[in-house]
């Protein structure tokens, strides 16, 4: 099924067609993933160029986290799919330790303070604690955490926890960052603040980011490109380039171009949501 498109919502590229940029950092082709009798992903294609900020939206249970788990090296896709990273074909397991992954919840360790949580990945890599801490301390102000380095997670607000988790991900300096709904647990207002702040940080470090969200406003506000996924089995239904100027201002969300993009995406998502709503509602377990 095709997305219903309003006239001229910007350049739209069909999913099977590869993105035209020259040397993608990550490339997925014909990726399938089956869990027992559940087909989570089927024939998924996507690519991410270096320095790009790609957002992914799709109905609940469509396989977004599964996609991330594959790219993070945690799950192997079914045989037959092609996975290329930094120009070389590889197995998912080869990616373990090569992309920096931030899961759906912050997953801070309650027994580690802010700094020690932030340097977790560095420690696993084998860096000396002192060295890692020094590195993290320098970064704190940028993450709005200056003065909080000795605090423990249970002393932080949801927004701050999320920033610590993001800092942990940033400190694990890898070519590709995977962010799985980092702001999903935040209330709408805090969320807006965090989005603006993330763009500031990204602007500065220019990492390549693949970002999952449920929120269409968020997907447009942050991304260079939005991938809309189909209902399960998941594949890419629509790739929407977001040609809004950067740096993006908060006011942009009520600008006509933004609203037009939102309309396009909403229509595509609507169709998929409707498909999966009735079935997913019966099956998806809470928490």
């Amino acid at each position: 099924m095709q997305a219903v498109r309003l006239p001229d919502p910007g350049p739209i590229i069909e999913a099977p067609q590869a993105h035209p940029r020259p040397e993608p950092l990550l490339e997925l082709r014909a990726i399938n993933k089956t869990f027992g009798s559940v087909v989570a992903l089927s024939g998924l294609q996507a690519s991410v160029a270096p320095g790009e900020f790609v957002t992914v939206v799709g109905p609940s249970g469509c396989g977004k986290s599964t996609l991330f788990n594959i790219v993070a090296g945690l799950e192997e896709p079914d045989t037959g799919g092609i996975l290329r990273f930094e120009g070389k074909s590889c197995h998912a397991a080869d990616l373990l330790g090569r992309v920096s992954f931030m899961p759906q919840r912050d997953l801070l360790f309650p027994w580690r303070n802010v700094v020690d949580n932030a340097i977790l990945a560095l420690e696993v890599e084998g860096m000396k604690r002192d060295q890692a801490r020094a590195k993290a301390l320098k970064m704190l102000p940028e993450f709005g955490l200056a003065g909080f380095e000795k605090q423990y997670p249970n002393q932080l607000s949801g927004g701050m926890r999320q920033r610590v988790a993001l800092m942990r991900t940033f400190l694990f300096e890898r070519g590709l960052m995977l962010l799985d709904e980092p702001f999903g647990a935040l209330d709408a207002l805090t969320r807006t603040m965090m989005q603006r702040w993330l763009l500031d940080v990204w602007q500065k470090y220019r990492r390549t980011i693949l970002f999952i969200t449920h929120d269409v406003d968020e997907a447009i506000f942050l991304g260079d490109r939005v991938l809309v996924m189909t209902a399960r089995p998941g594949s890419v239904k629509l790739e929407q380039v977001v040609d809004l100027p950067r740096p993006r201002q908060p006011e942009i969300v009520t600008s006509p171009e933004f609203v037009r993009l939102k309309r396009t995406l909403l229509d595509a998502i609507e169709e998929e949501s409707m498909k999966s709503f009735q079935s997913s509602i019966a099956q998806e377990k809470s928490q």
Binding site: F35, G36, S37, V38
Partner: protein, 271 residues
């Protein structure tokens, strides 16, 4: 149950399982196989390594000794079971009751709870004479010791469970105009139930300890008596016999409580 949830989530595995045989039967067979295997290892090890019967007799010797005087073991088993059950039931009920009272009346809790704690640091066996003095050589006396060991964990966990009740849920019930009694029955006790069952499982083991120790204060029937008798006549085979009977009773009772728990607090099993 054929909920869409159940079928779709575990669909693959359930299907694979159902090809062989129903679940409880499979479990039972696996259990029996495990027991037979353990028995063979026991018997074999004693023969193979020539372990002195003084340390570990052959299983067959023990079973034959038990078969020689089956009434002693059957009567002992039933008697100890009765003591255990009475102690467990009364301890459980008292534990829940005090838990609720302590939850409701803070002053009482602060006055009495520390005494409860201290009471649990006293080895019962030390005042066995008092128990006989006060309650004689009755089944009741043993049950009371089982009770003494049982009630405290239940009190603690009931209290803990009641305290985990979400104040928002209480507010919801009150917004419906619920009375204190309705609050307790509809919300607070069900919320505490999983915690209470954790304590009950522990209490199942403890009540058996109480019954056995209680039988050391002068009695003629019971697994504790058999154990003591065997210990002081240096009859290792009889010690093992009594131990096996106690193991059967302990494991069985624990399994029953655990099964009851799975049935009654079905909702927390998923977590």
């Amino acid at each position: 149950m054929s909920s869409p949830a159940a079928t779709s989530i575990g669909g693959g595995r359930a299907a694979a399982r159902s090809i062989t045989m129903p679940d409880p039967l499979r479990k039972l067979i696996r259990l029996l196989l495990g027991l037979v295997l353990a028995a063979v290892i026991w018997e074999g090890a004693v023969l193979l390594f020539g372990i002195r019967p003084y340390y570990l007799p052959r299983l067959s010797t023990i079973l034959m000794a038990m078969a020689a005087t089956p009434r002693a073991y059957v009567d002992g088993f039933l008697r100890t079971l009765a003591e255990t059950l009475i102690g467990f039931a009364s301890g459980g009920a008292f534990g829940v009751l005090t838990g609720v009272v302590f939850f409701r009346v803070r002053a009482l809790r602060e006055m009495i709870f520390p005494i409860f704690v201290v009471s649990q640091t006293i080895p019962v066996i030390a005042f066995g004479a008092l128990v006989v003095l006060w309650f004689g050589n009755t089944l009741l006396a043993k049950a009371i010791i089982a009770f003494y060991l049982t009630f405290f964990p239940v009190t603690v966990n009931t209290l803990l469970g009641l305290e985990t009740v979400d104040p928002k849920q209480v507010a919801l019930m009150r917004s419906f105009g619920a009375s204190n009694r309705q609050l307790l029955l509809c919300l607070q006790l069900p919320t505490a139930l999983p915690q209470i069952f954790v304590a009950l499982r522990l209490a199942a083991s403890l009540s058996l300890v109480g019954a056995i120790v209680g039988e050391w204060f002068g009695d003629t029937t019971g697994l504790g008596v058999l154990l003591l008798q065997a210990m002081f006549t240096e009859n290792v085979v009889a010690i093992w016999g009594a131990l096996l009977a106690a193991a059967l009773l302990g494991t069985g009772f624990y399994a029953v409580i655990a099964a009851l728990e799975r049935r009654l607090v079905f909702w927390s099993a998923e977590q």
